[in-house]
């Protein structure tokens, strides 16, 4: 398909150049998010960053037209994983006190 080609569909079609621009920007955001997760030194902050990174990944899957994976990533990457990590951190903290 060439840039700007339109698919006949009852839905409004996003022009391909716009999709490409979206995809590139989200890819850059994901790279920045991953770097931020690695660079975070404080564990609590790192968990929050992991959660934000999960949202960014979900966004990535969305603009690459994989809504099922988006939902999985949102629930597991942005909610379940940070929750378990926070609980583990709270447990470790209490033992240290």
């Amino acid at each position: 398909m060439t840039a700007g080609a339109l698919v006949i569909s009852p839905y409004t079609v996003t022009p391909l150049w716009l999709m490409a621009a979206l995809q590139v920007s989200v890819l850059i955001l994901v790279a920045a998010g991953a770097t931020a997760v690695v660079l975070a030194r404080n564990p609590t902050r790192q968990v929050i960053m992991v959660s934000i990174y999960g949202v960014l990944l979900a966004l990535l899957f969305m603009v690459f037209q994989a809504p099922d994976v988006t939902l999985s990533e949102l629930t597991v990457g942005a909610v379940a994983l940070p929750l378990l990590l926070l609980l583990a951190l709270a447990k470790v903290r209490r033992n240290e006190e």
């Binding site: 099922d68 709270a90 209490r94």
Partner: protein, 253 residues
């Protein structure tokens, strides 16, 4: 080993890694060009064969149903493991965690947090239920729906209501629901054997119109069972871990 030597070893290894990585990238199919026949065939036949317009669910719960069964039992095993490790042993006495600095000022859950979390519980339940019951029609499914349903329970805890959270999800109940959800998936597969079809074959009526909620036979049913199982597993894990972590103070309600 000196520092320069280490750096050289790293640089050589990194260069080798980079070379292999680039070599691998060159062999990849072009962006958006799917080379295999399988996906295209599924796209062409899935809706007609299964009456599920959520084709990903059709693949997850029917064409590749056996794989999903294995995946589901990973989570089931994890939840069972947590429940086993953290269970009460015989002769183990349950003492509440002691607050070793009781004079400390404990921040109370603010009204704003309470308001927001309580307001979100209802919508979260609805979204979770919708996701778990609409796998056959649109992008959703039991796994996602189950986690969202479990989130509603965690919101109860976040609203400062740990007691209510535990009362809503006693370990015995979540344990049982977890097992029933996981077991139903396997049993639906066995029921297909009973009709003379293959394991996990879709033996229920597919419904008249593809994309209707009551269509797609076992796909809808299995997705729902998975939703129940995943919700129970996550509530169980979160509840057990919270119990290990929390200091329940006087007046915490």
């Amino acid at each position: 080993m000196t520092s320069p030597q280490r750096r050289w070893i790293f640089l050589v290894a990194a260069a080798g890694m980079l070379a292999f990585y680039l070599w691998g990238l060159i062999g990849l199919p072009g962006f958006g060009h799917y080379p295999g026949p399988y996906g295209d065939i599924i796209n062409a036949v899935a809706v007609g064969q299964t009456h599920a317009t959520g084709v990903v669910s059709a693949v997850n719960f029917e064409y590749r149903g056996f794989d999903t069964l294995g995946e589901e039992f990973i989570l089931f095993t994890a939840a069972t493991g947590v429940a086993t490790v953290l269970r009460h042993l015989r002769e183990e006495r349950d003492t509440a965690a002691e607050d070793e600095s009781s004079d400390r000022q404990v921040p109370v859950t603010s009204d704003a947090v309470r308001m927001v979390t309580l307001a979100f519980i209802g919508p979260t339940l609805v979204v979770g239920w919708y996701l778990a019951t609409h796998a056959q029609t649109s992008p959703s499914g039991g796994f996602q729906g189950g986690v969202v349903l479990a989130t509603a329970f965690v919101l109860v805890y976040l609203a400062g209501q740990f007691i209510v959270f535990k009362r809503l999800s006693p370990v015995d109940l979540t344990d049982a629901v977890d097992a029933i959800g996981a077991g139903s998936f396997a049993v639906i597969g066995l029921a297909a054997l009973g009709t003379g079809a293959a394991y996990l074959a879709n033996f229920l009526p597919l419904g008249s119109s593809p994309g209707a909620v009551n269509s797609a036979g076992t796909i809808a049913l299995i997705s729902f069972c998975v939703g129940i199982e995943v919700a129970a597993a996550f509530v169980l894990i979160a509840g057990e871990l919270l119990e290990q972590t929390l200091i329940i103070r006087e007046g915490d309600r």
